[in-house]
Amino acid sequence: MAARYGRRTLVCEMDAKGALANAFDVGPLEFEPTEVAPNLHAMAMNTEDSLREYLRLFVRIPFLGRIGPLASTFDFVADAAPGVKEILGVGKLCWEVRERNYDLVVVDAEASGHIVSQIGAARVIADLVQVGLVRDQTQWMLDILDDPMRTGVAVVTTPEEMPVTETIELLARLRAETGAHAAAVIANRVLPAVFNRREQSIVDRLDDAMALLVDAVGPGACTVLAAARLTESRRSTGATHLDRLRNWIADSDDVVDGLPIITVPELFARASGPRVVSLVADALTDELDPEPIGRSAGGKRHE
């Protein structure tokens, strides 16, 4: 959506699962960004490449040829030492923001359990590492991550029990453990209400008229009615969970208060690929009604 509005945008996938490449229907994405649509660049995070770039930019290692074994050994440090892997990923993205290479950096972050460690990595490092280059590098990242004008976390959920519960936990943890600010909750795949209350009471009583229906439209009438009821039941269950989220947001203190919940309707289309990306972008555009180009500030958005 941002790219359609003319903003130079980078989308980065953090978990290397290839879903982003699928979404744009391009080959495997690499660390080096690829332009997948006008103004829209996509990349996949990779700790080794990030380390390579980091060393080149900050440590000015002269022996790049020997970095292969170095990086694989470093991988073990990164696995063992808290926050090292995360900081390399987040650091790369903050670097793109600082250098203003893009108007907007969108990060498809890891699952909600991991994102707090990603965003919080800079702080963990600052606490744990007393000296050294990594420590020196954390402050400017924190400046970017903690600035609500530059970084916003968009928490994506679906109207189901677990996702809503995880969203609530994530919002609470973001506030407690990081300096980052939640910008919005996006509720995806929301079913629209089909019947008003009066109509619903008719739907509930249609069994009494089943003989008439079957006579008129055939034996499949029961299934057709069952489908309508199933959809309605799913919708109302989902609505209950979204209400729970809405109430939680309303009841929490001023940091999360007023956090918008943006809804994207269930599309009944294929669940991946450029077509769906385009439809969701349409839905978001309708919902957000963005200002024309050039008005909003450059920023960075997670997830």
């Binding site: 063992a80 990594v134 008719i202 008129a216």
Partner: protein, 384 residues
């Protein structure tokens, strides 16, 4: 004959795997009830239950690391017939690690030094897929103690389902790694080595020698426990391919979870682990995708504004315009649902080809929040 029922009777350990949000925890609990309804004996469900909802559904305020028995009276109150005992325990990573350290530490001094190390909590929370390893480790422990006839493990949600399969191997690999060896050589000789190896110079510059030293101190302590840890991790690894163990992969028939389930099923086969069954959860009724329903929906759309609406309105004694609106909506929305059902049916056959048993659980009204609901679900699992 139902193979899932037989699986519950013949195996001693069942690992329930799948991507997050597909109802894995609920299915694991329902499998436990199914096993307890099938026959006598003691069944334990070891869960991660991030939402703490399972405890409520089971009628418990909360449950922890220690197995808790579900009150038989609670089952009979809910109208669920069980012949065996059902126990539940919660996977507690922190407590689990403390227990491991206590078990493997050669003496009290090392044990206390590790437990008090400031990096300990941080590292155990993060490294080598700590949660997954702990789940495997606790399974091994419970199985070895011999208190239960069947242990069902609800595996922790992870971004990559494979990490649970590879966790014990990675633990072994970690102890043998060059990094650990380097970190744990005495500081003085490391200084000497460092001078000759550019890597150490870089690592030192990037991370700071103080930080490296902190890590090193921790791992020197940790290495004292290497023997016990490695032996244990190998035992846990062996348990995964043991013929008494089977995996049940849970998924919905949506794109991403079923993709993950297929990947997981293939990976299990590659690793010579036993895929016992695939459970497709929250499935739409298959007849929604059928031609009969589609024909009726099309006919309904045509007749919604005609005499049909009038006669229904008369029978129900409601205004005809509301009936028209209702019938039109029902008919025109049908295609959306039918499309999803058709796609689900397609994925179901793909998945069914990958496992000896495939069970579909229908989307039950609302979420399951009590023992009766779990009992119904167990019924579907036993007699789909």
């Amino acid at each position: 004959m139902n193979d899932l029922d037989n699986l519950l009777a013949s195996r001693e350990m069942i690992l329930v795997a799948g991507s997050g949000g597909v109802g894995k925890t609920t299915i694991a609990a329902a499998l436990g009830i199914a096993a307890a309804s099938r026959q006598k004996g003691r069944v334990l469900v070891l869960t991660v239950d991030p939402a703490r909802r399972l405890a409520t559904a089971l009628g418990l305020d909360e449950f922890g690391n220690t197995p808790t028995r579900i009150d038989p009276a609670a089952f009979s109150d809910a109208g669920v017939k069980v012949r065996g005992e059902m126990w539940v325990a919660m996977l507690d990573t922190k407590a689990g690690w403390d227990e491991l350290i206590t078990r493997h530490a050669p003496d009290a001094g090392i044990r206390d030094a590790v437990l008090a190390n400031p990096l300990y909590e941080n590292i155990t929370n993060r490294f080598v897929h700590s949660h997954e390893y702990l789940a495997m480790e606790q399974l091994h422990d419970l199985h070895a103690r011999g208190d239960f006839d069947l242990v069902i493990v609800d595996t922790p949600p992870s971004r990559n389902a494979l990490s649970i399969l590879d966790a014990p191997g990675r633990m072994v690999e970690f102890f043998g790694s060059r990094l650990l060896r380097w970190l744990t050589v005495p500081y003085r000789s490391r200084l000497f080595t460092m001078a000759s190896k550019p890597f150490y110079q870089v690592a030192d510059r990037v991370l700071g020698s103080r930080f490296l030293q902190d890590i090193a101190d921790f791992f020197v302590l940790f290495q004292a426990m290497e023997g016990g840890f490695v032996r244990r991790a190998r035992e846990v690894e062996a348990l995964l391919v043991d013929p008494r163990t089977a995996f049940v992969v849970v998924t919905t028939l949506e794109t991403a979870p079923s993709h993950e389930a297929r990947f997981l099923a293939r990976s299990l086969v590659e690793r010579h682990m036993c895929l016992g069954a695939i459970v497709a959860n929250r499935v739409l009724p298959e007849e929604l995708a059928g031609g009969e329903a589609a024909d009726s929906a099309a006919a309904l759309l045509e007749q919604a504004s005609g005499s049909l609406a009038a006669s229904i309105a008369k029978q129900l004694d409601v205004p005809v315009k509301h009936v028209r609106a209702v019938l039109t909506q029902i008919a025109s929305r049908f295609d959306d649902v039918a499309l999803v059902a058709a796609r689900e049916s397609d994925r179901r056959s793909e998945l069914a080809a990958m496992a000896p048993t495939m069970v579909s659980v229908p989307w039950l009204e609302g979420d399951i929040h009590d023992l009766a609901g779990l009992g119904r679900l167990a019924g579907y699992l036993r007699n789909p």
